[in-house]
Symmetry: C3
Subunit: 157 residues, 3 copies
């Protein structure tokens, strides 16, 4: 089944060039597909120079910057889908995003930060990009990054 407009074409329209999918770090892998579901490892954001995008919401990063960081996580998730599946049309549905926001104890707008990732999924996959989600504030994230997002994807064939 081929969409009239492919996710790859939507990426071009958005001006997005997928980065190289992050290589396996240590003894875990970027994604595992079993029983029709692709589980993708938590993705962190990198800045344009390839360095981890650090920050803490409620301290040194505002909501807009946090949402932009979440969008970068989502771009990296799509890069992992492309690496695992070849063609993004094999994405049947974005099932679930888990959004972890590096937050001070008084920052409570995690949903608005997470929207940076959610909006990107719908921009690329249309209705198939509409997903279930949880968003929580955590004390700290690897490398001090602002956001980490993992995902469960339903795949065709």
């Amino acid at each position: 089944m081929t969409a009239l407009v492919t996710p790859e074409q939507r990426l071009i329209a958005l001006g997005i060039v997928l980065p190289a999918a992050a290589a396996p770090a240590a003894n875990y892998v970027p994604s595992v597909a079993m029983h029709g579901l692709l589980h993708i490892s938590g993705q962190i954001p990198f800045d344009d120079s390839g360095k981890p995008l650090r920050g803490r919401l409620g301290a040194d990063m505002d909501i807009a910057a946090g949402a932009a960081a979440a969008r970068r996580c989502a771009i990296n998730l799509v890069a992992q889908m492309k690496a695992a599946l070849g063609e993004l049309d094999r994405v049947e549905r974005i099932v679930k995003l888990g959004v972890f926001v590096n937050s001070t104890p008084d920052f409570t707008d995690q949903p608005e930060v997470g929207n940076g990732a959610s909006d990107f999924m719908v921009a690329v996959f249309g209705d198939a990009g509409r997903h279930a989600r949880s968003a929580v504030g955590v004390a700290v994230l690897p490398r001090g990054v602002a956001v980490e997002v993992d995902a469960i994807i339903a795949i065709r064939g």
Copy 2:
């Protein structure tokens, strides 16, 4: 396959009227069903006036109040199941609950808080309500609520 006592009948016996399932917020949806599993978005608790039930365990909320908040999250999860499935008899099994408890760094009774959600699932679904679970303490949650719970459900048909 119909249970002798339906989950809906158990809800009545418990005196629970399911709230309206929370509407989609932004570009995510309350739940997604694929390959026999329904993934439900993280649900937060609301008080009787419909306002987010705020609090932090170890600071301004005790275990009993935290467990009551977790139970409200579970009621909202069941409301989402009802909205997605029509009949709660289509719930084959509550597979997994993810319990996130808004906690000070010295509060360590997350399991007792989570039991508010777990006990409710068994009260409504019987043995089919017995689930795997993780429970962790997080720095903060959306809107300052005390607990957030997401879920994976196995469905019939």
Copy 3:
């Protein structure tokens, strides 16, 4: 399908005697298998005397001790697989680990802590042990333990 070397044989070679699988606490269960996936409850580490292994990374526990605690969580996950499946050869793939690290706000080496669990899975299951993973820092964990790890496993038959 039987591996030439079984996971049980690898455990012996590693000198690991699986502990008794932790009994169900309250109204949740250690694991639930549905639609080919086994969801295992979050496992916490215990010391040799059976007491919860407490600690906070960035405060009173270093990375090596944190990784050792994560390895103990992984051993407990394998004990739950054995209890649920009988033979560990029924593990088709370790799909996903969720690693929660009890962290001060300035500790950012959660991946190195998580490797204690990831390395153990590969030591026991070989390539089938290579999994997707998320690792985050949380404010606090049940009983004050240093690490909690939950898992999704694909099973045969």
